[in-house]
Amino acid sequence: MSALDMEHPRYKALPKQPSIQRFFGSAPVSVAIYLIVIGMIVYGSFAGARNMGYNWQWYRIPDYIYTFTDDGFQWGEIAYGLVATLNLSFTAFVFATLLGLLIALLRLSDLIVGNAVALGFLELIRNIPLLVLLYLFYYVLGPVFGFDRYTASILTLGVFHAALISEILRAGINAVAIGQWEAAKSIGMSQGQIYRYIILPQSIRFMLPPMTGEVVHLIKSSAIVSVIAVAELTTVGRNIISDTYMSFEIWFTIAIVYMAVTLTLSVGVTYLERRYAVDH
């Protein structure tokens, strides 16, 4: 006796939505409405800016990305700015990871002073804004140690993100099953050996997705060093704007470049998450 006998008068099929609702609810129409709304917003801002007396100069933008001169193909300032940003972010990331590893290990150890120092460092960095930290490094510690603005930016970004990365690393290390620790200890490995051969290699798969997220975060944070005129993408943008006053076009282009970089990296993150997904 089939339970779902649709012919039986007691079981009536659910009423279908009126067809006009089905039309509007369907995917293609929704996408169309979405595009219309976005279009209205974009058009509204274009028209509004023109009414403000703004003179659109989109045709000048490609020159800043690349040019064809007598010497052939040459990258423009925005491209150089992007490379500088990526350089800066990469260096800061390496520094942040090393420092973060040190802090994480200190926190995981049972050293009293070590733990206290790590905790103090973390709380201090986590409760000060990045901009204030940058000013501190550049105007206060800069003259003391004699480092220039590039070094000050690397240090600021590195220290700020080391605090965040150390938490990721610590969580990753803690995620390794405790049985691994016990087994390693029972065969007589020292603390250092356990870390090096057993724990750290296994913890990497836990750390990788959030770490890539941290890379994206760092690239976004790097824009703030433009306040001390370090060469990078946002600085290049502000310089071009101060020379040519094409504010809208430049900011739009800069935003698109950042979005392209971060979205590409996010795709990488999703891929890594899927590949390293822990299936127990």
Binding site: G25, S109, I112, G114, N127, L130, L136, I219, A223, S266
Partner: protein, 294 residues
């Protein structure tokens, strides 16, 4: 005490030595090679000053900046909460258009550096909004009146009201993306059974949200929201770049006027630290008390 010292091992001593060397070097070079004269005694005067003209105590630059930061953070926090809830709900909406619009807004704000967002917003929206609402004239009208103590408590110098509003709006817009994600996570963590039960007793989508899903979701996400509020206070320093008169901007002014670079920045960092750390301790205590209540 002796057992404490016995627990210290050689790396502890190494770290202590390194720290002492580090700070000692800083102290030595500031006093020695840089020839910097510490003027800490002037700092309290810049927090609360004795006005020589008016013969009364008044809040000076740093305190003005601190109160402005607190005001901006609270107002932006409330606005971000409202926008964030709308955004979070929109992200879970059954309507594809709404979902896509919310997703676009979210991705736009999440993938662009905060500095760039602040500048874009300021250039495009803030002046238009201020002109459209005629905010400048209205606030100046209020500033010209005599008894404006209430206004001053809530909004500070009324002549700077439009820039305060700009700062609040841009900060709220930026933070609403993150609040929206928190709310979305909260909504999606509500078991499907709740939703199905609500539907089965005939609630509409809106009623289901209002009476079943949101109360539970919001209660669940209070800890990450509290953290986000602390992040908001820190992010408020970025709006100093659009000349909103909050703590970081006031410190820049102080340094430009008096060359007390070290004292000023250390004091400001301390202010931010006290506020953020204090709040995080308060939230931690509240969370612990809430847990034991169960």
């Amino acid at each position: 005490m002796r057992s404490f010292i016995r627990k210290l091992r050689w790396p502890d001593y190494l770290i202590l030595v390194l720290l002492i060397t580090f700070f000692g070097y800083i102290w030595y070079s500031i006093g020695g090679t840089l020839n910097y004269k510490w003027r800490w005694e002037l700092i309290p005067g810049y927090i609360v000053g004795w006005h020589s003209g008016r013969e009364e105590y008044f809040a000076n630059l740093l305190l003005q900046g601190l109160t402005a930061t607190i005001r901006i953070s609270i107002y932006a926090g409330i606005l971000a909460l409202i926008l964030g809830i709308i955004l979070g709900v929109a992200r879970c909406s059954p309507n594809l258009t709404v979902r896509m619009l919310a997703r676009t807004y979210l991705e736009f704000l999440r993938n662009i550096p905060p500095v760039v967002v602040v500048f874009i917003f300021f250039f495009f929206l803030s002046q238009q909004l201020i002109d459209a609402l005629n905010l400048a004239r209205w606030s100046r009208g209020i500033a010209r009146q005599d008894d404006i103590l209430l206004w001053q408590i809530f909004f500070g110098d009324m002549r700077r009201f439009p820039s305060l509003i700009s700062g609040v709006i841009v900060l709220a817009l930026f933070e609403s993306a993150f609040v929206g994600e928190i709310v979305r996570a909260g909504i999606q963590s509500i078991p499907r059974g709740q939703r199905e039960a609500a539907r089965s007793i005939g609630m509409s989508h809106f009623q289901e949200l209002r009476y079943v899903v949101l109360p539970q979701a919001l209660k669940k996400v209070v800890p990450p929201m509290a953290n986000q509020f602390i992040t908001l206070i820190k992010d408020s320093s970025i709006i100093s770049l659009i000349s909103v008169q909050e703590l970081t901007f006031k410190t820049v002014e102080l340094v430009a006027s008096s060359r007390m670079i070290f004292e000023a920045w250390i004091t400001t960092a301390a202010f931010y630290f006290i506020v953020c750390f204090g709040l995080s301790r308060v939230f931690a205590r509240l969370e612990r008390e809430k847990k034991t209540d169960i």
